[in-house]
Every structure is written in C-alpha cells, then in structure tokens.
Symmetry: C2
C-alpha cells in the first residue's frame, strides 16, 4: 500500500534508485524467509556464455546441449528439481541475443562447468535499474510533411518493448485504423495469469513474459502476476509512448489535455515483460531480448540499464550486439543518476543511448489578486479547485510555512502565502496536510517543475513574480485573491533543457565513445497507465488513480527516440542500426526554442555539454533526410572490442561467433561524435579520429567543414571539403584535436559541422573534451 505522503508521491514519478532499493529490500526479505527451508548447498543464478562451434554434433539444438551440460552436473539419484535449488537447473537457453544459458548452480558446479569445452564466460545474475502527449508536436512531427507521412506512421515496423509488461485494456492499444500484421512476424501473444492471448490485436501483436531468473534466485517464490500484464505501469507508459494509437480527450487531471498517441502511432508493439514485482534480473532481460530478436522486431526499446558492469557481462550490450547484426535498432535510456559525470548506463557502442530533456509545456495556475494583477505560477494540483476571492494570509508568524503547529492556528478559509525558504518540499508537505483553501509558494525548484506533484491547491510562483504578491498581501485583512487551476501553457521557453536527473557520460563501460547519443523529451511525459496505482494526491489522505499519467525519466525519453527510430526504419528499411542512429545524431538540434544553446537544468542552467545531451534534441523530420551518414558494420564493432582490454572469451560472449577477426583492432569507431579524454598523467594531448561518411542523398553533393573547437583546444579537419558524385558514395576525413588537461576537470565542447553547399544539409557532430573517469 502506498504511503500517503505528498513528497513521496512526487518522488515516485521518477523511476529512480529508490524503487530499486525497495525491491532489493523486498528480495532480502524473500531470501530470509526461504532460507529456512533451503538445503545446505548454496546455489545461485549464473549467466554462462558458450561457444556454439564447440557444440558436439550429436546435439541438434543449443537448448539440448545446454540441458545436457546441466544434467551432467547433477549427481545421479538426485531428484530432477524440486524448485528449491537442491540440484543444478537450467533457467534459459539463449540462442539469438547471446549464445549461452542461465542456470542455478553452486560455486562448485560453476567451477566444473568452466572446464567444459565451449565454455566462454560466466557471471552472476544481477538486477536491472529501470530508468511520457504533446511531444510529437514539440518534435515537429506533423501530418503534412516529414517523417510521419514518409514512414506511413511506422505501419510496417515492429517495436519490441523490454519492460514491466503491458495493461492491454488501455485505449492506447486499441487497433482501429491498423492493417494486417506484417507477414514476417514470428512472435506471439502468450496467455498467462489474467492475460488472455485474445487481448492482443493488430496494435499489440506480441506479449511474452520471462521470470525464470526470478524463480531461480527465489525458489518457491509466488509470481503474483505470471503473465505479460503490467503491475507497475512503466511498460504501459513506455510502450504507449513509442506507438500508442490515437486516443482523444486525454489529460492528467485536466492538465496536458489533448489527443494522446505514440511517436509512431501506426507501428506495432510487442511486449517482453522481464520485470516483475518479485524481481528484475539480467537473465530474464537477456531472455526477453533473445526472444524479441527471434520474433523479428525492427526496434527494441529498453528503458532500463545495468550499472557498473563491463560490456561482456551486460545483457543489454550482449543482446543488442546480436540485434545490431540483424539490423535491429536498440534504443536505451541513459539512466537517472545525473547530474554527476560518469553516471550513465547503456553507454554501449552499438546501441542508441538516450538522454532526457524537458518539454515546452508547463502546468499553470493563474493567480488574480484583488488589485486586478494576474500572475501565472506553476502547479499540477490534480483537481478543478475553486478558489475565488479568498483572503490572503501573509505574515511573519505563518509565512515561513515550516511549522505545522503554527499553521494549525492560522485561519484556514484563506490562501496562505509561503515565503521562499529553500525548503519547498517541506512547505508543500506541511500545507498539503493543512486545510487552507489555497496556497502560494515562492521558488524556482527545477526538480518540482520536472517531476510534478502538488497535493494542496497551491501555485508556485517565481522569485521575480513574488514582490507583486507579497506587496499586495501585506495590506493585510483586506487582501484577497483567486486561483485558477488546470491550465496548460505551451511554448514554454527555454525548451528543451537537459533534465536535471539525466545520467551523464562519459560511459563507464566504454568512455572512448561519446555518450549519450541524443536527447529526447523525458520530463512530465503523458502516456498510458494502469489502474492499480495512484498517480496524484489531494491533501494527506486522498490518493487518485488515472488512465494516463505524467512521469519523468530517461525511461520516458528512450521510447521517444525508439519511436523516431521506428519511423526512420519505416521510411528507410534498408538502413543499418548505425545509419539510423547517425541520422538521428547528425541532425539533432543543439539549440532550444530561443535559438540559444540548450541549457542544463542539473548544472545551474549553464550551456549543456554533449556528455549531458549527446548531439542535442532529436529532430525527426531532419533525420529523415540527413545528407550523410556514419555507418558501421558488425566487424567495425568487433575491431573496437578487439582494441579493448578484453579476453577472447569476453569478446566471444558478445559476438557469439568466432568468424569475426581480431586482426584490425581499432578504438577509432566510425562514430558520428568525438570525445577526447584526459587524465592526470600528462598535460597535453593530440588525438586523431578517422571517419568515413556515406552520401545518402540523391545525386552529387559537396560539403565543407565548419569547426567550433572546444575551449582550450585546436581542431583540424582534413580534407575540409568532401565531394560526392553520387548516392552511397563514401568519403573519409580525419579530425585532429590538440587539447590539454583542465585542472578543474571541466568538460569543454564544440562541434564539427559538414555543410552541404546549397545549405540543404548540415551534418553536425559534437566534440567533447572530458576527464577520463575510471571505467568498469
């Protein structure tokens, strides 16, 4: 049962580590409970990568092989499995996303297994961290021109969502207007507890669930929703953001009213539920991605990530390599651990890593003072509160709004004016627990404006607007005001801004590639929700549920990018995952709607660095026709892996195949961005990057380089002119950067922009100079 606390209510709008901590605690409890009945040998879940080339010819499938391996570990006369780890047991056999399996093993059994021919690597199962409809307009998507019509709204594209499941009854999954399912689709809708396969339709074309990893880690656990049905809302929100159908008259308690739809409103959705109330395990994530690839999805959207793991033990990195090989775009969330540097997850060279930004929309309450003055403040109070000609209370006794005892003595048939104290959260909580008719707070708390949550009929005004209210309220007993709630203001400036919480690069798992790649809307995104949760609160006791909710996080940004990727896949079915990512990056917008550089809400509104937002805000219509692309083949990524300090088997865990060569190791991946790192050892550096660009526009084109060097650096591009005579022609260039260590460990940044002579195309790559942070 949720705690009736407004701040808690506010906090829960972001999928943060709080939730994860809670789940850990839950797991610890489960484990204690179960240990009493468990047998003496301690077993736990491992993910084991195998070399398919070592599979004995007697086996006709990986699954058969893997079963035999586990069987061989089992002493004779042991019961096959009693569900309580009394013997080794196979959880999943992975064939697509990885070659390998997950199994419940003792330490000793693991050691035995390591000696088997074909063993590549093994690591413990681990927990994943989960990282929403004006956004299509904000991203300039429209029915007249550009990516929507060009892609037929994503109709032929299938997006696999790796998440908490789906609430299939949501209007966002209705399939009106949808045509037959693409013939290549091999996926299915699995029936399970409270989820009949008939819940699927031409929109929701697949629904599967994976929890063997949970069961393995918690033998005897009761999976409370053993189906693809969502019991957390997250998967319903992300999937409806990617490809929800059109639903009219949607709002969040009167705010953000309009027609809800996903970024790719005609694309198909397949849900792979890997997160359950009982746990969130790597082995299940890997199983979900494995199946998504086998089913034939075009895009995988995964709003979660593993922190502090090397690429070869990161199931998303492993599985997305296989996806990339098949041309499947994997779009992932950067994480919500910002603003410190080096906090990012999913910084995987072959996936799209998405940062979160704000939307040009704010939720407002209009205050009309008795003197006729009007002030627009911020609020998301979830009801049509009627506050008309109500007296203002403003005096030194009450207006610090920091004592429930003092506040309980104030007249409540009034609007309390709370002064700026720097403790807005506490003031909101106190006033929510009181009985005032209304409240006016003074603050510019970015977190509140990005996360929402106001459970008293109050409005937050800026310190700039405060004097008008305070001076009028000072007149005492004769002062009064009205407040109108449920107002939505569009065109808020500046927007976007980098969300304060978005995780920042460099990527711990590989800092040599500039991550994140792009930014997409992530703060207060409106999308579908499930009914068994509260989404807003009034006072200290009235919790409210809703069919649609606004929540914040890179988890909400990722599905925006996934939707754009799906549209691009629809418009350019022949493009590789790297080409789609390149198009999104080189056309991304580094400017906000004031035409100034995008600012960072997490770093005191300073200009955002590429380590916060990648190349900038994704710009779908421009991405449709990027001019040039930076492509990369599977072998290019292998060359990168070979340049890392990985063992052969660590690489094989990712590549699954010995047919790749490690003869040309290269850390210089053909990536549409540049990062130069410094450490404490030397004071000046030179780094040269080689890049090859492919002309994807029709006919000949000539481009010239324009460089903005990062502060304290010089950048040389050679040649400075690229001449293409036809489509698909490739040209190469080098970019050399001379830079020095910054003693204050600041990040400096610039950009290389290739400008096509006619001005039709500008192909921009961010350049960052960053301290090298310890990698995993």
């Amino acid at each position: 049962m949720p705690k009736a606390n407004s701040w808690l209510s506010k906090k829960k709008k972001m999928w943060s580590d709080n939730k994860v901590t809670h789940l850990y605690l839950l797991l610890v409890c489960f484990m204690f409970a179960l240990h009493a009945n468990s047998v003496s040998v301690e077993r736990s879940t491992y993910i084991i990568h195998t070399d398919i080339s070592s599979m004995p010819k007697t086996f006709t499938s990986l699954q058969q092989w893997h079963s035999s391996i586990i069987d061989s570990l089992r002493p004779t006369n042991t019961p096959f499995s009693d569900g309580h780890h009394s013997s080794p047991a196979l959880a999943y056999s992975y064939e697509n996303a990885a070659h390998g399996f997950s199994a419940i093993l003792s330490q000793q059994e693991l050691e035995t297994l390591k000696k088997f021919p074909g063993f590549v690597s093994a690591y413990s199962d681990k927990n994943v961290t989960l990282d929403t409809t004006h956004t299509p307009e904000f991203l300039s998507l429209n029915v007249v021109s550009g990516l929507w019509p060009a892609s037929n709204y994503g109709e032929d594209v299938i997006v696999g969502i790796i998440d908490t499941g789906v609430w299939p009854e949501s209007d966002s999954y209705k399939d009106y207007g949808m045509k037959a399912i693409p013939a290549r689709w091999k996926g299915t809708c699995e029936s399970g507890q409270e989820f009949d396969s008939s819940l699927c339709n031409l929109k929701l074309i697949g629904a599967r669930y994976f929890n063997k990893g949970i069961v393995a880690a918690n033998p005897g656990v009761n999976i409370s929703m053993n189906s693809a049905r969502d019991t957390q809302g997250h998967g319903t929100h992300t999937s409806s953001t990617v490809a929800g159908n059109y639903v009219s008259d949607v709002s969040f308690f009167g705010y953000a009213k309009g027609t809800a739809r996903g970024l790719a409103p005609r694309a198909r959705l397949a849900m792979y539920k890997v997160i359950f109330d009982e746990g969130r395990y790597a082995s299940d994530v890997l199983a979900g991605m494995d199946q998504a690839i086998a089913d034939g999805v075009n895009v995988i959207s995964i709003s979660m990530g593993f922190d502090g793991v090397p690429l070869y033990e990161d199931p998303i990195a492993v599985a997305s390599f296989a996806a990339m090989e098949k041309g499947v775009v994997v779009s992932s969330s950067a994480g919500n651990a910002g603003p410190p540097l080096g906090t990012l997850h999913n910084g995987i060279p072959w996936v799209l890593t998405v940062a979160a930004g704000t939307i040009d929309r704010s939720f407002a309450g209009t205050i009309t003072l008795g003197n006729g003055q009007t002030i627009v403040g911020w609020t998301m109070f979830p009801a049509s509160a009627f506050v008309e000609n109500v007296p203002l209370v403003y005096n030194k006794i009450y207006s610090a709004c920091n004592s429930s005892k003092l506040l309980s003595e104030a007249p409540t048939d009034a609007i309390i004016v709370c002064e700026e104290t720097g403790f807005l959260e506490d003031q909101l909580n106190l006033i929510s627990a009181s009985n005032f008719r209304g409240a006016i707070f003074v603050s510019k708390d970015t977190e509140l404006f990005e996360l929402g949550g106001v459970s008293c009929p109050g409005v937050v005004i800026s310190p700039e607007d405060a004097p008008a209210v305070l001076n009028y309220a000072k007149i005492g007993n004769r002062s009064f005001a009205s407040i109108k709630f449920q107002q939505t203001v569009l065109g808020t400036k500046p927007a976007p801004a980098v969300a304060f919480y978005t995780s920042r690069g460099p990527s711990p798992s590989y800092p040599g590639i500039l991550k994140p790649d792009v930014m997409a809307p992530g703060s207060l995104v409106l999308a579908a929700w499930f009914p068994h949760d509260y989404t807003a609160q009034i006072g200290s006791n009235v919790l409210l549920s809703s069919d649609y909710t606004m929540i914040s996080g890179t988890s909400m940004a990722c599905p925006h990018a996934s939707g754009v990727a799906a549209l691009l896949k629809g418009a350019h079915p022949e493009w590789s995952a790297a080409a789609i990512r390149s198009a999104m990056m080189t056309t991304a917008n580094p400017l906000d709607n004031t035409l100034n550089p995008i600012r960072d809400n997490g770093l005191n509104f300073t200009i955002a660095s590429p380590l916060a937002m990648g190349a900038g805000q994704v710009d779908p219509n421009r991405a449709l026709d990027p001019g040039l692309i930076y492509d990369a083949t599977p072998q290019d990524y292998v060359n990168l892996l070979c340049a890392m300090n990985f063992t052969k088997n660590q690489i094989l865990a990712i590549t699954r195949s010995n047919s790749y060569s490690c003869s040309s190791p290269s850390a210089d991946l053909n990536y549409p961005s540049f990062i130069a790192l410094y450490n404490n050892e030397t004071a000046s550096y030179v780094q040269t990057f080689n890049r090859t660009v492919t002309n994807v526009a029709e006919g000949a084109a000539t481009y010239k380089a324009t460089v903005t060097a990062p502060k304290g650096s010089t950048v040389v591009v050679s040649p400075e002119k690229l001449v293409f005579e036809k489509k698909y022609e490739k040209q190469s260039y080098t970019l050399t950067i001379k830079y020095t260590k910054d003693d204050e460990e600041n990040v400096s940044f610039g950009a290389l922009v290739w400008i096509e002579e006619s001005g039709k195309f500008t192909v921009r790559s961010p350049i960052a100079v960053s301290p090298f942070l310890t990698s995993v």
Copy 2:
C-alpha cells in the same frame, strides 16, 4: 465566498428557502445601508394593474399612459428622478403578460393612484422563490420512434426561460446542427455587462434582463452583473435541461458520464433573466414574462414560484393567463417545500405544475473486502480515489464516528467503518475533516441519495449489506478492503419515486384543481453550470468547480416537462396549452420500473398520492398520441375565476380585458384530473364533475370507463361508454364521487381510465380525496 463545509455543500445542491432567507437578509442589509441616505418620504415598489379600456384616446401606447399617470403624481419642481425615491417613478409598463405597470410610490401616492380611471388593482412587489443527462433515456425518448423524431427534436419551437440568466459559453448552447431561426421570432439578444449580443446564436436566440424592480426596491444598488449573464448557475442548468445541444463526454467528476443534451435538443432558447444576486422581485418576473410573450415564445419554463399569494397578485398566474390566451404553454415548478400537504406554489389552473421525482440511476462505489466479497454502496465522492487493499478500522472506540477528538487518534492510513447511528450528515462531516484513506457508512438516508454530496472518499452501504462488512471487519488487524469510486449504476429500482422535497397539493391558491399535474425527473439532474461556483468538495478545504453539475429540485423537474411540452408543440403546433397539458397528464405513468405504484420518498416509501406527483411520471412518447384530450378555452378559465370569491378588478388584473363574460361562473373546469375536498364541517359529501373530451386520434373510436375509487368513496361515471365517429369530435360525461371526511386527514386516491376498445389508448385521470387546507 462559500463556506467550506460538506453538509452546506450538500444542502446547496437544492434551491431551497435557505437561499431565499439569505437573500432576504441581504436585502435587509441593503435597506439599512440605504435608509441613511434616503429622503423622508417612504416609497416602495407596487405592481398596478390597469384597465386598458380606460386609457384616454390621446395616448398611443400603454407605456405613454402609464408614464403620464406617474408624472401626474409628481409635484411640480421635483427633479425627475435621482434614483433615490425622492419622487414617484415608473419601473415597467406591462403590455403582454399583464396590463399595468410597476412603480416606486409612497403610500399616499398609491392612494391617489387608486382613484385614477382605469385602476384595477395594486399590490406590493414581492420576492420569488427559486425551486439533468440520462433523463431523456429514462423518459424513453429515442431517435427511432416517438416524440423526438415526430417533433424534429423541437426544432421549430422557442422556449423562453424565466430564470437567473445564462452562461452563454457553455458547450450546451453551441448551435451546430441548428437551422435558421423561425421567422416569427421578434426577440433579441441584449448586450450588457460582460454579455455581448454576439454570444447568441442559432440555439440561444434571445437574452434579456430585467432588474428595475430590484433597483426600485434598493435605490442606488449596484447590479453586479447587469446583463443576461448567469451568476448563480440556476438558469444555465434549467435552460440546458430544456434544450441544451448535444455535448459528448460530459460527467460530474466521473459520475453520470455520457452525452449531455436537453429534452428538446433542437429547440431554441431565449433567456429572460429576472433574478440577480441583488434580488428577485415579482415586478421583474412579470416584466420578463411580458417580454417573452411579446417576443413570440411557444413555451415558458419558469422554475420559481410565489408562496402565499392569491392568483391575482401572483405575477406568474397573471402573466401565464396572457400566455395561455396566445397558446403559449407555461411550465412551472411545484416548489421544494415537501413533504407536508398544501405546500405547493404555482398551483395555477392555466399552467402546468411539475413535481419532482427520482431517476433510475445511482452513483456507486464498489467495496471489495479482503475475503473477496463485493458490496456496492452509494457515493458521489468527486475524484478517482485510489483505495486498494487498505486496512479496515472497526471498533467500539472510533466507529460511532461522532467525535473528532477520538477520530484524530485513530490510524488514518485506513478505511474507517462507521456504524449506523442515524446521524449520517454529522458522520460525513467529521470524516471529511479527518485524514482517513477511505470510509464506509451505514444508512438509508434518502436525502443524501437525492441531493448528493460526499466529500470524503467514502461509500454509504445499506443496513442490509452492513453485516457482511461489519462481520468481516471484526476480524481486526488482518481485515482490509478496496473501494472503487466513480461508478454509475443505471436501472436502479424502484424508479421513479416522488422526491422527498417536492411540494405537495392541494394548491393554496386554488385547491379545487388537483395539483401538481405531472412528475418529471428532478433529483440529481446533470446539466450545464457556470464556472464561478463550487459544485463539489474534497475534505474540508478543497472546493471544486465543474462545467456540468448534478443538482436537485422541482426547478430541475420543471424544465424536463417544459422540454416535453416543446416537443409536443413541435409535433402538434395546433394544440392549445390545455391540450398539451392534458396529453402529458392523461398519458403519465403512475407505475415505477418495477410496475408497482410509484412510491413517495418523503412519506416513508408509501404509495405516492396525486397530491405529490399529479397524474404520474411524464411519458413523452405516449403524450404524442393521447387519444383524447381535455381542452379548455380562455373563457373556461374566466368562468372558473368568476366562480371564485374574486372582485371584478381582481379578475381584470388577470384577464386584462372586459370582453370576457362572467355570466357562467363555474368551479368545474374541464380538467384532466379530479379532486374532492372535505373539511371539518360535514362527514359526507357528493360532488359531480362535468367533463368533455375531444378525440384527437384519426377516425372513429370507442372508449369505456374503468374506475378505481379512492378508499372510502364510491365513484360513478356516466355514460360509461363514449363513442366518437371522427377526429375532433367531443363527448361529455359526468363523474360523481360520494366520499366522507377522514378523521386522520389522510389523502385517498384512485383513477378514472378511459380505455379505447382496441387497447391503443388509455386516458387516465387521477382522483384524489383530500382535506381542504386553508387557501390564500
């Protein structure tokens, strides 16, 4: 500013005398304030009826004549008017609804005026008492057959609403689908404060306002909204109930969701605002009706009435006589002073008097107990409260729910179970001021279910359902429950029932005619509202506004009947007002949806008498084709007036014309119902009624009489068979009732039903035997 109190909030849902008392107080305040500045001669407003035949030929208009009368009262050298009663002044000249004027006069000036040729009568201005969308379905209106298609949804009919004004921006007044305004329309849209004539359209075709009576009574008063704009909501609600256009997706905070529309969704509306925040005066009401008749309305809907006035001093009675002469149906509300007998207003022989009933709809919350049991209770808590698996608190300390001190010590993260104590209102107030997550009350409080208003997340269950909850809750700490709000249950039985508050006959102004005439839905009617008021409440401080609201009263029943009358006028433009009323009465349904006699919520659910509901629930489709009608001509009504103990001038005030003859006085009006009265003087009575019915069906028809005699009476009908050879043929019969006085002053009742041989038509008239209550 409204008081934040849930019971007050609940009470305000009904337009009752509370509101009037408040206005009286307000007026008293105004008068005190103004007396300080007033001159020594006391003047006040009088309504004066004049005899048009006495108007000197030198005058070309009544207005000119009336002005000259007032001028002659004014001493020479007196300023014309300074707005402060320093000299006599004309307020209105009435030409249509009455022949006369209202004027501010001193007692002495009034005496002078009485000696003028043409003076008929004079009386002091007085205050009027003010008395919605599944109801069309409940009344069986449908697009396939019956009155809606037959009347073209009222398209050619104009309904004048005498009320508090209109909020023209409401979606209910949008004119999509509306054709050109009928050419005969002479009305207009007057611009005024915050009301531009451009706000009118093909739906809202007229808007006028009348407040000279207020200004006369309160010289110097500032009319805060000097236009037809509604500042009280009442007029917006009633007019949208009559003829609001189709508006989809309307609800009252999630309850009663659906498409809102009036009973006559294509009829035209003209608003005559006669009630202002500053007062509600007979002189203004008369002016509004005067203008409505002049403008050419077909139906006047007037949800207000004057209590304790004789017909000749009741502006509604006076004006509606003129309306009736022109074939305009006047539909009025019976009042909200029930259940005592003799409380009815608007019991005027030539108007339709409408009682209020309940609707077959209830608003529910479903409780699911931890043991799986499900109980549906009553609630209108105005939000999607999330109450899932919350512990129940049920113990002797808290569960009387009668002490805020005790309750403050209970755990609030819980559902409090409140035992039935007979003080539901108090319990609701206490719990609303507390912080429980939810509440369960036990009661069968009819008033709550008819008026609504629950400001805590609670549900009221019946005493029958209580044991299931209480026995389960007894198990203590382990008991928990979920509650789902915002549920609407249709088909509630039994329905309709007579609303507890509806005023009962006999009519004090003329008990010899059985009143009310019919019943229509009046409890918790959903219709349009205005934004500057609260319509619901959460807790003790959060007031909520809404575009549509559910309120209760005969004020809400009247516009239902007005809408049906408009549809009948559309279908039968040749029918007189009496014919339309007759059709509505003789086809009204005395049975509820269990096919048992309609019960009376105000009288302990006993079978409702005709003094509560008239002939029964209005049945629009049957009224379209009633078989027979009881018609009446203006002279018939004059004959009735002549039979009353009225002076010539009292009659002339109503009839405005000496061309009527008083040669055939008769108390035996050709009315479609019968009332026999007894007093204390004698113990047994015989009364004979003469009636004439007109065949309005096509061709020949034969009817036979079936009588159910009131208890303790014998009824003889002669002849018992009526044979009609063609349409419009008339036949007469007599009904003789022998009855005795009931010592307990009970009302007994029965009916005469004329049944057409084929069974196609049944023409029913209620018969009541009632104590004679003192008339005004």
